[in-house]
């Protein structure tokens, strides 16, 4: 896409004010989710999968975010994030 095109267009997003009303469970790892996963997507992608993904499912999903979608998450944070998701939103 040509750069001028970018400059004259607006950058829009879904309602950040409404998005802020999604509350993730308080637990170790929540801060990692907020600071890393939320760069690209709202937290309802997580709550939508509550009780659908087991540990292996969450591992696969977080792995996809890192390896396919390019999320800059290191191994240490990856483990914290997966543990949080399994404990709070696992099947």
């Amino acid at each position: 896409m040509p750069i001028f095109f970018l400059l004259i267009t607006l950058f829009t997003n879904a309602a950040l004010s409404e998005e802020s009303q999604i509350h993730l469970k308080e637990d170790l790892g929540k801060e990692n989710i907020i600071s890393q996963c939320s760069i690209c997507h709202s937290a309802d992608y997580i709550t939508m999968h509550a009780k659908i993904l087991d540990r292996s499912g969450w591992e696969k999903t977080v792995g996809k975010m890192i390896n396919v979608m390019g999320a800059p998450i290191n191994d240490c944070d990856k483990k914290i994030i997966i543990d949080y998701l399994v404990k709070n939103y696992g099947k």
Partner: protein, 422 residues
């Protein structure tokens, strides 16, 4: 709308301020300190230059989907919103109730005066760039009624559940699309003998440069089909922003993953497109589904999802609803397939033991859904288990169970709705 953007923090690089501000409201300082630091270091932001205009800052605090009304939120960002079934009782789904589906969170609001469609690729004779006006005036304009249906519609009905946006039955909509034939546009560029696939890219993109851009391809045969359009109008109005303004691809009979919104780039290619969205995502096993529509993308085991499967939906009843047994109940619904057309829709009021024909309504073309009606005359009180079953003109009938597949596509099993007559 009334909130002013946060002031820039002097210790942050300007390029990141607008983007991080977007998350400030959600995530407060932790996000900024951690992510901005990390990302600034890694230079992973998709397009730092985006963040340099004030317009962007204003846009960031726009209300969500403000041109839409009454949709069911699945996810805010990227925005995924489905249409409540009650809006499917009209032939054409109103634009403001039409579902919204994105893979990426950066969705530029496009100024049509500046929009350009670039057509290139290694198998093109003459690369071309078109303005919206050129697209609208240089080619013959046509209109087609077609159902736009997300591959994952009804994913939430799979048992066991499947990962992905948990769509109900509302990730679809029927509309009248006006535009120009893709084959007419490509005739102006010329297509080399070596052409195999044509790829399509839209203006939306992921937040990070490392996220694979949502780009899809079609086999040449589908590209040259007279029904494949570049549309700029939907139901007599310019395309709504959230449905692809100013121009999108219309691929009648194929799932909406190919209906690229905010189309900016077309490439005629002599090789199969090799990206995540073609090679990994949107694929179905060969076992259980018909192959052969997109041979250049098939492997031994799987293939891209392509044609819609025969399906139907009861649109005016809700499970658990009660009615008086004194009078007839009109049951309404829609049925569709890949474009062969609907031969018949049957209805059962006893959970599938006996079936009767419904009355098909006006035919708006083979790619439109077909509305149908049935008049239920109650004979007893108590529970009625209502089921609808569509059969296409090619003789394919909806199955009792969906074909299981890893990504939860093509759910077309018979639906059962229980109502009580009192």
């Amino acid at each position: 709308m009334t909130k002013k953007p946060e002031q820039r923090k002097s210790n942050q690089p300007y390029e990141y301020t607008s983007l991080t501000k977007a998350y400030f409201m959600i995530n407060r300082r932790n996000f900024i300190l951690k992510s901005a630091g990390t990302l600034a270091g890694l230079s992973l932001w998709q397009k730092p230059s985006l963040a340099t205009t004030n317009a962007i800052e204003e846009a960031l605090i726009l209300e969500p989907l403000k041109s839409k009304d009454g949709l069911i939120k699945k996810t805010y960002r990227p925005p995924n919103f489905e249409t409540p079934i009650s809006y499917f009782n009209t032939t054409f789904t109103p634009n403001k109730h039409f579902f919204v589906r994105y893979h990426h969170a950066i969705i530029p609001e496009i100024n049509s005066d500046n929009w350009q469609l670039s057509i290139g690729g290694d198998a093109i004779n003459k690369p071309l760039s078109l303005t919206l006006k050129q697209l609208q005036t240089d080619f013959k304009s046509v209109e087609i009624a077609a159902l736009c249906l997300c591959s994952g519609n009804r994913r939430s009905l799979f048992n066991p559940p499947v990962s992905g946006v948990q769509w109900g039955s509302g990730a679809m909509g029927n509309a009248l699309w006006r535009g120009v034939r893709l084959k007419d546009v490509l005739a102006a560029t010329g297509i080399k003998q070596s052409a195999l696939e044509v790829s399509f890219n839209g203006a939306d993109s992921g937040m990070l440069r490392t996220t694979p851009d949502f780009m899809k391809s079609l086999p040449l045969e589908k590209v040259l089909d007279e029904n494949t359009l570049i549309a700029f109008e939907m139901n007599g109005e310019p395309l709504p922003h959230w449905n692809g303004f100013p121009a999108r691809l219309i691929v009648p009979g194929w799932t909406a993953t190919y209906w690229i919104k905010h189309l900016t780039e077309i490439n005629i290619q002599s090789r199969p497109v090799d990206n995540f969205w073609m090679k990994t995502a949107y694929r179905i096993p060969k076992e259980g589904f018909k192959s052969g529509q997109f041979i250049s993308q098939e492997t031994q085991l799987n293939m891209p999802i392509t044609e819609l499967v025969v399906n139907s939906l009861i649109t005016n009843l809700m499970d658990g609803q009660s009615f008086s047994s004194n009078k007839a109940i009109e049951i309404n619904g829609v049925a569709w397939d890949k474009g062969d057309g609907i031969q018949r829709v049957e209805i059962s009021i006893d959970g599938g033991k006996t079936w009767e024909l419904t009355t098909l309504q006006k035919n708006y073309g083979r790619f439109s859904w077909r509305q149908w009606r049935y008049n239920l005359k109650p004979t007893h009180t108590g529970e009625y288990r209502i089921m609808a079953r569509a059969t296409s003109i090619s003789g394919i009938t909806q199955p009792l169970e969906p074909v299981a597949n890893p990504s939860g596509y093509h759910h077309n099993a018979l639906q059962t709705i229980s109502i009580q007559l009192i």
